[in-house]
């Protein structure tokens, strides 16, 4: 800080800058102000830059050239290019080159008579030709160093074919987990996430709204209300992994008989199931839902309640007919925020025991399961570069899901504001 008072000032009344000194003083303060303003702006810009770099890294990883090599040369399978073969010829190739067991399993999945030529062609590529990614490049390399990549490839792997690949593609969404990155997909994880979220909402929404109603309408200002309020605020700050430990000890272990489905005679032997994860998530997002729902309920004008009471409505009639409908958009916004939180949370799922490698779709709330963030965690922690690319593709799927959820929340919030 620059002190405008020079040391030589008289001790009795001090000294303020005069004439030309004033201009110098003001100029110096202006300069100081501008410098700091730029610092403040840059700290905000750094935050925005970080977001851009984050998105850039993800996109950079999710698209780019891949070098494909065949384990079996298609020329050895047929004289014509495979694409031009009929379905029957392709089935014959398939039958001749894969094991009986695998062939029967494919037939079981869907009879070959019912499959299309494209589908069988795909199977031939996947099972017989076994096209594999031997090298992958990120988007930046692909765009700027295409020639260098081609040269390197022709010198090291003359047979390999260079192809631009979006790691995020339809197959990625519809395939299961696989040991090779290029055949991996998020199908089971996506379904697992959806199952879990659905149950989480079914449990947390009524509980959260109910708690908010009790606190706002039935016990507002009382000692128990204040106690619960403090408690909820503290719960909102508990690290998510602690919720995971609660879920592990209570839902997975202590209530394993129920959460595993054994009480219904289902075969799963432990409680590391969708229901355990969903209940854990429900407890995790409950404070968030309650806090938002309370705000929405508090915003309902008192005059509305009085009008209803004045007509002889009971408390619940007033709440059900007037308070809840008015507060609903706000409550839903809070719930969607809770859902987004549950959708991206990873740590509690790890502790509760989501499986990282699972190839079946969840079939009931007692299924073992995996979830999108768990897959991202698993893939990101793999050393191979290709898995990083799938992780990036899965992140895009997750972020798109979250973005759409938040868009809905913003629309609701705006409508809510307008109606007030």
């Amino acid at each position: 800080m620059n002190d405008p008072t020079p040391k030589s000032a008289q001790p009795s009344i001090g000294y303020l800058p005069q004439g030309f000194e004033i201009e110098r003083n003001i100029a110096a303060r202006r300069l100081q102000g501008t410098l700091w303003r730029n610092l403040f702006v840059s700290s905000l810009l750094i935050g925005i830059l970080a977001l851009l770099v984050l998105i850039g890294t993800i996109v950079n990883d999710a698209f780019g050239y891949v070098a494909l090599a065949n384990k079996v040369d298609p020329a050895n399978l047929a004289s014509q290019p495979l694409k031009e073969l009929s379905k029957e010829e392709l089935v014959a190739i398939l039958q001749a080159n894969i094991s009986q067991g695998l062939f029967r399993r494919l037939e079981n999945d869907q009879p070959f008579t019912e499959r299309s030529q494209e589908n069988v062609l795909e199977l031939v590529y996947e099972r017989v030709v076994q096209q594999q990614v031997i090298e992958s490049y990120d988007l930046w390399e692909s765009l700027t160093q295409r020639e260098a990549i081609e040269q390197e490839l022709t010198s090291q792997n003359p047979k390999a074919k260079l192809e631009f690949r979006s790691w995020l593609n339809w197959g990625f969404l519809s395939r299961s987990m696989a040991s090779k990155a290029e055949f991996s997909g998020v199908r089971n994880a996506l379904l697992g996430s959806l199952w879990m979220i659905a149950i989480t909402v079914v449990v947390a929404f009524p509980l959260g709204v109910g708690a908010a109603l009790y606190l706002e309408e039935y016990s507002s200002g009382s000692r128990i209300s204040r106690m619960i309020e403090t408690n909820i605020n503290n719960l909102a700050g508990v690290p998510s992994i602690i919720y995971g430990m609660l879920g592990l000890a209570i839902f997975v272990r202590a209530l394993g008989f129920f959460t595993s489905g054994s009480f219904l005679g289902l075969s799963d032997s432990n409680g590391r199931t969708i229901i355990s994860a969903a209940l854990t998530m429900a407890l995790l997002i409950l404070p968030l839902i309650i806090i938002n729902a309370r705000e929405a309920i508090r915003a309902v004008p008192l005059s509305l309640r009085q009008a209803s009471y004045g007509l002889g409505a009971t408390k619940w009639q007033t709440i059900w007919h007037h308070v809840l409908p008015q507060a609903l958009p706000g409550i839903l916004t809070g719930t969607i925020l809770g859902i987004s939180r549950a959708m991206g949370e990873t740590a509690p799922l790890i502790v509760v025991g989501a499986a990282t490698y699972i190839v079946t779709d969840p079939s009931s709330i007692f299924s073992k399961f995996t979830a999108l963030p768990i897959q991202i965690y698993y893939w990101a922690s793999q050393p191979q570069e290709e898995f990083r690319r799938v992780a990036a593709a899965a992140i895009i799927v997750l972020l798109i899901a979250l973005l759409s959820l938040n868009t809905v929340a913003i629309v609701l919030r705006n409508r809510f504001r307008r109606s007030l």
């Binding site: 507002s220 200002g221 009382s222 004008p301 005059s303 509305l304 309640r305 009085q306 009008a307 209803s308 009471y309 004045g310 007509l311 002889g312 409505a313 009971t314 009639q317 007919h321 007037h322 409908p325 008015q326 109606s419």
Partner: protein, 266 residues
């Protein structure tokens, strides 16, 4: 508690030694007030004199304030409204209320009227409900203005119409007494006039108690007037004078009443 009070036929509501507390603060003290049946009784007095508090105690709206407490008796049909066995919801069905600011529900005009009967266990067909809605709106002199837009939002009406909608809404549950808490304070003069005309009409069937800031309104639209004032010593609202409106305005017995109506304070 006597079931057959002497003046039961003449009075709709009788407050005896009524004091109202918020927590430890006594907001209203020792009020004795007998409201005549099928008359309009105006409660007047300066801000903070407790007149609204008294009004709200008549249908137990004060229950909604957690710390509020009433001592003494308020007799309605010979029964103390504040006896522990009395159900506040039932009281409010019999003693309706119209508020200072029009507060229609954010629903259609029709639904605004139908809500009260429905929550009070009304049974009947759709056409009977239509009938009841029409009758209530006619009763509030609103029917002709809204009959073509019954299913539009009640919030789309003008302020005066909204207030009459709130009155119609109160009529639909067939109360005996209607409490009005400064019903015209948010309205323009023409709407005010309409509401006052409506009150005169309603007096034929209902007992009306109105809190008002406007002495003109009290003098032209009420039969009896009660004047309240805050006791400067303990800040509690006190009933100073109560009687026929004409007498109270022409020949007030208490000096403070005279000072107030001639505009010397308040």
């Amino acid at each position: 508690m006597s079931l057959h009070s002497a003046n039961e036929g003449k009075y709709a509501i009788e407050a005896r030694n009524m004091s109202i507390y918020y927590g430890t603060f006594r907001a209203v003290k020792q009020v004795n007030l007998a409201i005549e049946r099928q008359k309009i009784t105006a409660l007047i007095g300066p801000s903070g004199c407790g007149k609204s508090t008294v009004l709200r105690s008549f249908n137990r709206m004060n229950d909604l304030v957690a710390s509020a407490r009433v001592e003494g008796e308020i007799l309605f049909h010979g029964q103390n409204l504040y006896a522990p066995s009395v159900d506040a919801v039932e009281v409010r069905r019999r003693i309706g209320m119209v508020f200072q600011k029009p507060n229609p529900f954010p629903k259609s005009i029709y639904e605004n009227i139908a809500f009260g009967p429905r929550v009070n266990g009304w049974k009947g067909s759709k056409s009977e409900m239509d009938e009841l809605v029409e009758r209530s709106l006619r009763g509030a002199a609103l029917w002709d203005e809204v009959k073509d837009k019954l299913h539009e939002s009640g919030l789309a009406l003008s302020g005066g119409q909204q207030q009459r909608l709130c009155i119609a809404r109160a009529l639909a549950v067939q109360p005996e007494v209607i409490l009005m808490d400064e019903p015209c304070s948010a309205l323009d003069p023409i709407s005010t006039l309409k509401v006052e005309e409506l009150m005169m009409e309603l007096r034929k069937d209902y007992t009306i108690i109105i809190v008002t800031h406007s002495m003109q309104q009290a003098s032209r639209a009420s039969d009896n007037t009660a004047f309240f004032l805050m006791d400067p010593e303990d800040r509690a609202g006190t009933l100073i004078e109560y009687g026929p409106t004409n007498e109270l305005f022409m020949a007030p017995k208490d000096k403070r009443t005279e000072e107030y109506i001639t505009g010397r304070f308040g």
